[in-house]
Symmetry: D2
Subunit: 323 residues, 4 copies
């Protein structure tokens, strides 16, 4: 491997820039030429590729978003798209790729690598923290802290008015953002896809509370909860507790942006460094993760969305600490 | 005036605690007894009143929300409610009131004062900055900075994906939060109630842009725009530009909470100090404002929502700077 | 005026980028060519000048520092330096300048304009807020909010330990940062150059407090206080109150950086816009300020450091509210 | 165990309140009486102890500092002090203790427990992250993020002026804050106690850089580096590179305060919960840590300051990524 490309793909997440920076500088350090590919696989197909050096990545470690932009490319699902992408790499002599993205991006990489024998390394870049093989994903820590800061603010106004707030956080398939931000803000209830949401129990606990005193209550819902998001939950609650002063807040895309936290910058830097090491050492087509404080490498094929079992302890903690 | 009460009323806003602190400490300094009244006029009617001293307000200047809580009281609209409230003040000898809230709260105060001869001083506490007689309202600067930080984050992800974002900020009757946060984040379009929203012009400028390149565009909408909020605007845009990658984000209640900015703490402190001075100097039934850097006192009756004319300069700046 | 240059000079301040953006885009809008000059007058002498367009200033409104970099140029004090600078402008046809900086930078501009008949417009860019003719300077609001956030944190640990903290903030000639951040954080004492610091009174009030209870006390000192900075004050206090748990914290350069607040972005945008308007309308060699909510133009010669009298009210508020 | 006491001891750290909250609520949930002890062992000796319930810890999870205050007690080193402390616990029937603090506090607890047979549980509360037996300590993540935000701001002004900045962060015995914040901010050099600081190599790399171009360079120093703090390092550099524009910034106590990050709130909550579980399950005189994502319990005697070997990888990353 002598020339490598780096791209960001799928939903953006804070820390992607730190990973790009690490790939470029580690590559340069080892004498590799490094190319940035714009907008994920789209730029690979459309030949939007440019050489990068140390200065191209100066002063980006602290920036949210991704300087390489990102996209979800439909064309890359098609053999013609991948063939075209390969031509664009080949004509530059690029013979290694680092893909920063989620499980969908990894599947594309694996397929591409199978077809064209260009080794690919995946780095888990997603705010949802639901990739097998890594305790951390780039962006999760920032997203969850953004959610916590927002919910802290909502708590101020909820307390001032004795209100019931239902806050929706991101997480279509995974409840990690909801679980972590909910515990950290002292949410009374946390609804996540990993556990069965017992709406009747929720209603009866709220009713109980309302009888005793003003109903101040914070419910954090993952957008992917099987019961629906905050609006769906609010509708039911309003019907059953018509006197409660109920409000909905959907945090939305603010969770994707912002300057990355120290942790996200660190893991992104480490993963970017090790991605290049993998390419140099012939450890091909793996995702670079961190497990139990050690670097962990799993085949790209296995780096899928992982529905992890939420520990019983955590659920107990939610219940006890908000009481 | 020897004993005074202080309350927060209507929607909460960051800086209310700083104002309460200033009222309590200035009152104590001048030898007055100061009473906190919980939940606005509700606590006055329900006799939820307690004496405060310097320590009651220690360490609250930096807190969002209001330690006195707030509410909108229907009962205070009724003569019986006000009579009951008066009894509760009278039995404690309270003969002066400071009301921190918006124009609705001031109207209640004026009526109460007319009926029961308890002088009232109003402090403008609202994030909307739409009260006549003051350049500043307690909470606006914090709210607008919260909006700016949130939109900066959205901009990260909008840029990463080349997306069109429609962000809704608070402001049912006034577009100040939208106008200030929109200019400060370089929004391409800002829709506010004070100006006619020409949706056709908006659509055609977006169409023009889309023809030339990827459509990255940030539209900030005040919730009270005559065309509706972000969802309504998005619906039209999606119909007319079906290929644009359009997203909506409604910032919602995060704009009400959070630790107040330096400016909000300062004006709240100054206003609270002068509220007590007014009561001591017989300047009764006024709202304390700040106009052109000087304290400004207007009769409570005149402290109404002010639909101010937005300067032509500002609108030009929006147009030119986002180009 | 058909071609203009823009530069940032002296100490950097948050919001300078927003001002540069406004100058470039307003200039372009009016058909002017706009040139960025690097490192203040140094780049003008060293011919480090490049043409800018709308895209050069994309995505900088939210960035701290200045993309044009800044410096204090000794050579510009010499006639040869200015002559060389003029040559570099002349060869490009630049016939107007916008200088974003402090009073020293304005004096240089005035001299340059007298000698070479290139009209100059000054924008007040300094965190110290001590320029005559404007209620606002670009960067002050951000700096003071940074100071407030830092002091809030120090307050946490001061309270946890019952400590006496002496915090030094910036302000060599002016106490505005100290005064505003001190009031906003409930500092018990604020030492500024504008008022005589009575160290004996300070010591005796601390002694008094120490007798009554644990000594938790926050003193905010402007670096330019006539008694010296935090270290000097601490030395005296430690000598006279040896049992107090006294700590010093010098906030330093963190006050210069960071993403600008909404207010700083707004005033920088407005000032930048009006700077170009001035050049177009023949209003030459003025500083653009904002006074009582209106644009205000004063001759560059008069835009000097202003030792303003601190209002009696404010000093009273400091004393009463911290009690 | 039926009645337990909880205290915070030693230097304060963000997240201590979250731990106190978890101890109180988990204790209450299991039917225990929970007592708060003020100012660490001092309050135990001075009998400053009060019963706590769920409401005593409402709305504190997001607060910096510690509502129980903290101190370093000399008297507790003496047998008489500990005897007095024991009397105060005994008269209330307190038969279990949770101590949130550092290794010094744990040694005190172990001694106390040996003498008086009151089981003690330690929770690692220190921003320095240098306690054996836990990957996390309460407060580290917040402190390091505060440092990162501050250094980001300094980077803005360093870049604007082409300056060499030497930033000192906390860490008397451990370089974790320096190492993590240094990598995360792209510091060119990081000086920590765990590695030998080769000042000659540093000087020669700076000299090299200065020859090639303007010297913009960020050095992060742990206060406990064997070469001294930022001031000592600056002195040497200024002597050897007199033309460099060198500045020092000592972050100081801002690193101790502030609202805790999501991670610190989470680990504090989990540790607090498990502290009570330990007391209930007869797992006495241990420190509750988290190792490789699992709860980890080590005897208090072993919970000492751990000088960990910094991984070679990390040091390589520092060198390569800043290049």
């Amino acid at each position: 491997v002598t020339k490598i490309g780096v791209l960001t793909s799928g939903g953006d997440s804070p820390g992607m820039n730190a990973a790009v920076r690490a790939v470029v500088r580690t590559g340069n350090y080892h004498g590799l030429e490094v190319y940035g590919i714009m907008r994920g696989y789209s730029g690979m197909i459309e030949d939007d590729i440019f050489q990068m050096d140390s200065r191209s990545v100066a002063n980006i470690i602290q920036r949210g978003g991704t300087i390489l932009k990102t996209a979800r490319s439909k064309d890359f699902f098609e053999p013609e798209g991948r063939a075209k992408a390969y031509e664009n790499l080949k004509k530059r002599g690029i013979n290694g790729l680092v893909i920063i993205g989620g499980d969908g991006s990894f599947r594309g990489a694996q397929k591409f690598s199978n077809e064209f024998d260009i080794p690919c390394i995946g780095l888990p870049g997603t705010i949802d923290k639901d990739i097998a093989g890594s305790d951390f994903t780039i962006g999760f820590d920032t997203a969850v802290n953004t959610a916590v800061e927002a919910i802290d603010k909502i708590r101020d106004t909820a307390d001032a008015h004795d209100r019931l707030f239902i806050v929706e956080v991101m997480g279509r398939d995974a409840g990690y953002i909801a679980l972590h931000s909910g515990i950290a803000t002292g949410a009374e209830n946390i609804l996540i896809p990993e556990t069965k949401t017992d709406i009747e129990e929720l209603i009866s606990s709220l009713t109980e509370k309302e009888k005793r005193k003003k109903l101040v209550n914070l419910i954090v819902v993952a957008e992917g909860d099987e019961y629906g998001g905050a609006n769906e939950v609010a509708e039911i609650i309003k019907k059953r507790l018509p006197n409660a002063d109920t409000r909905v807040c959907i945090l939305g895309h603010i969770q994707r942006g912002g300057s990355p936290t120290c942790l996200d910058r660190l893991i992104a830097s480490r993963m970017g460094y090790h991605a290049v090491e993998c390419l140099l050492n012939g450890r091909f087509n793996v995702m670079v993760g961190i497990l139990n404080n050690k670097m962990n490498y799993i085949p790209l094929d296995n780096a899928i969305k992982a529905k992890q079992k939420i520990s019983e302890d955590w659920l107990k903690i939610v219940k006890i600490l908000a009481s």
